[in-house]
């Protein structure tokens, strides 16, 4: 049918004409940078990553080397010695003192940044990959598969997380890798649920039906159409999850189930010195503050991301 000379036709001006299309990525980035908490989180996190990368340059001492017998003045739990604050110049400088094995605490905290960031990313990465797989399969294929997988997730969620992690580590044996594995397993249901919810909301949309009509396989639709569109809530959840993972792995290390000595992991540093809290509180406070700063920056970034990516909040 041709539409020539229709008396009822009205020219509608395209309201978007003349406007450059805004790319999703740029739009998102701008939204993120509008969030104050995200900026703070991102900045601190950037600094922490730099510290982790250049740990060997920043740290004045080997983090695992006891200084007893190497330095004359070295003794276990030596108080901090800062030259600027009046510590005698003859004494070697130790910004945060020495720990119970006469190792330089500052160097250990610096190297700990590397270890703890790695723990956060690896643990959550593991949980996200498995959670995404389980959640998307459950949401996409539905019915029986959904029921089976999600009930399995319910069982994992039925335990207080740290207790289940403890039970898993007792089976696997203590160690940093196993501790990460345990915390990762415990975190899977969270991501599986998030993923399933997004898949369910996307599955029914027209562009999925279109892909199917064009002959795309189920696996292809899942990989190329659904998962990329469901990533947003996963990223938010993952960012917040990193903070939790660092705290939980540190807790396992604190209990002696995670990082083994002499590794400079913050949780194990606190665990090793917890009986010294009344005489040398800085040995607890310094790694403690390091954990707080790291987790706070991930939490701030996560909150900022959520606000930036939540379309309901767009004003």
């Amino acid at each position: 049918m041709t539409m020539h000379a229709d008396p009822f036709s009205i020219e509608i001006a395209d309201p978007m004409a003349g406007q450059k299309p805004v790319s999703l990525l740029r739009d998102t980035l701008r939204n993120i940078l509008r969030q104050r908490s995200a900026i703070v989180g991102l900045t601190v996190l950037g600094l922490l990553v730099l510290v982790a990368i250049f740990a060997s340059v920043i740290a004045p001492f080997d983090p695992t080397q006891p200084l007893l017998g190497i330095e004359e003045t070295a003794r276990p739990r030596l108080a901090p010695c800062i030259h600027l604050l009046g510590c005698p110049l003859a004494q070697p400088e130790h910004l945060m003192g020495l720990d119970g094995n006469a190792r330089d605490v500052f160097s250990r905290v610096v190297y700990g940044t590397r270890i703890d960031l790695e723990i956060g990313f690896l643990t959550v990465g593991f949980a996200i990959i498995l959670g995404t797989l389980i959640g998307s399969v459950a949401g996409f294929f539905g019915s029986r598969m959904d029921n089976l997988l999600m009930r399995l997730m319910d069982v994992l969620l039925a335990f207080p997380s740290l207790l289940l992690a403890i039970a898993i580590v007792t089976v696997l044996g203590p160690g940093l890798i196993n501790a990460q594995l345990a915390i990762g397993i415990v975190a899977i249901p969270v991501y599986a649920r998030v993923m399933r919810a997004s898949v369910l909301s996307i599955r029914g949309q027209d562009f999925i039906a279109a892909s199917r009509a064009l002959g795309e396989s189920s696996g292809g639709i899942l990989r190329r159409r659904i998962i990329p569109n469901a990533l947003t809530p996963l990223i938010v959840q993952g960012t917040l999850g990193i903070a939790g993972a660092i705290i939980d792995v540190a807790a396992l290390s604190f209990l002696g189930l995670g990082a083994a000595p002499p590794l400079a992991e913050w949780g194990s540093m606190i665990g090793d010195e917890r009986n010294a809290v009344f005489s040398a509180p800085h040995l607890i406070l310094v790694p403690g503050i390091a954990i707080v700063i790291t987790c706070l920056s991930f939490n701030l970034l996560g909150d900022g991301l959520r606000d930036a990516l939540d379309p309901r909040l767009n004003r």
Binding site: A167, L255, V292, L296
Partner: protein
């Protein structure tokens, strides 16, 4: 409503079964055979054969599983390797400590969380709001063991000699005695399950002190509980404060609130009677969910403050490789957690009729 409760009850059965299966599997995949794991160097071939027969480990796996389920259902959680006593008996002694700590922490978290969240929602963007949100953000980023150790140092060393000093370890000051209820009420001859229940209640010092009108015991218990409870409750408090704030802000933006204001309801009543009542629904869920975190955190808090609850039992069991205790504690705590979540779900249905329909 009855139908809703029944459905919720039925839904929790598969989860409960799954939990038992998972713990059973975890116990069976411990590397090496359980006998050697349990007895260590004492394990010889003859002893191990006897051990396997005694614990039914010579039977097929399905039989073992059914035996295990039967044992758990009747409260038999096996004997601790280290203490040589039934795990259930250890739990009767130690679970009350954890329960007491958790309840104190929960009360602290709920009271201050709701209070702070409400304050910062009403005075949005005021200094109070900003301060509360900073505290809330810090609260979710502090590991409970760091906070606990910090409090222990602050209140036992820095504030020593001031009226604010608090004991950093243990449940009671030496010299303060707890009289078991069975003794106080002359029921020492009582046996069986009622006695177990009585002993359990008796071991909750706060309840014991109230029931026996023992003022000095109550005071001492509370003084010892403040630090661990505050340390343990800070993270849930932060989460509850954030939830209350955002939920109350959502509700206060709704039309019916405007209507209430328009018809001249006092602002205080608008917030208290119209706003809070609806805003609290998601908060109730968060409070229920925080129980898992509290039970997890109790493991760490008890270790720091030297409280002989199930948390410390677990850490001791880890050091002594006492798998039976770990298994028993994990399963009991998981069951408690499931039951509490069930109660939260049901109370949620009571509070909000819409939930029952879905």
């Amino acid at each position: 409503m009855t139908r809703y409760i029944i459905r919720r009850l039925l839904l929790s059965i598969p989860v409960l079964l799954g939990v038992v299966i998972l713990v059973f599997i975890l116990a069976r995949i411990i590397p090496g055979d359980p006998c050697r794991a349990a007895l260590g160097e004492r394990a010889t071939a003859a002893i191990c054969d006897a051990f396997n027969v005694r614990y039914g480990l010579d039977k097929p796996i399905p039989v073992q599983f059914l035996t295990y389920v039967g044992n758990v259902a009747t409260g038999d959680l096996g004997d601790s390797i280290r203490f040589g006593r039934p795990v259930s008996q250890i739990l009767v002694e130690r679970l009350p400590v954890t329960l007491e700590l958790t309840v104190y922490a929960l009360i602290f978290a709920a009271f201050f969380g709701i209070l702070l969240g409400r304050l910062s929602a009403i005075r949005r963007n005021s200094p109070i709001d900003v301060a509360t949100m900073i505290v809330a953000n810090l609260g979710v980023s502090i590991p409970v063991f760091v906070l606990g150790l910090f409090f222990a140092y602050l209140f036992a060393v820095v504030l020593k000699g001031t009226p604010f000093a608090l004991p950093p370890s243990g449940r009671l000051t030496p010299g303060v005695d707890v009289i078991p209820l069975a003794k106080a009420w002359g029921l020492t001859t009582l046996g069986g399950p009622p006695r177990v229940v009585l002993d359990f209640i008796s071991n909750i010092n706060t309840v014991n002190a109230i029931l026996t009108l023992n003022g000095s015991l109550l005071l001492d218990t509370v003084r010892h509980m403040i630090l661990p409870a505050v340390a343990l409750g800070t993270i849930p408090m932060a989460i509850i404060a954030r939830m209350t704030r955002s939920s109350l802000l959502d509700v206060l933006g709704l039309d019916y609130i405007r209507t209430a204001r328009a018809k001249g309801v006092r602002e205080r009543d608008v917030v208290a009677k119209h706003g809070m009542r609806n805003a609290l629904l998601p908060v109730v869920t968060v409070i229920g969910l925080s129980l898992g975190g509290l039970l997890s955190g109790a493991v760490l808090t008890e270790t720091i403050f030297n409280l002989a609850g199930i948390g410390r039992t677990i850490t001791e069991a880890i050091q002594g490789r006492d798998y039976i205790i770990i298994q028993g504690v994990v399963i009991v705590v998981a069951i408690i957690y499931i039951v509490v979540n069930l109660i939260v779900d049901i109370s949620y249905g009571l509070l909000d009729p819409r939930i029952r329909l879905t």
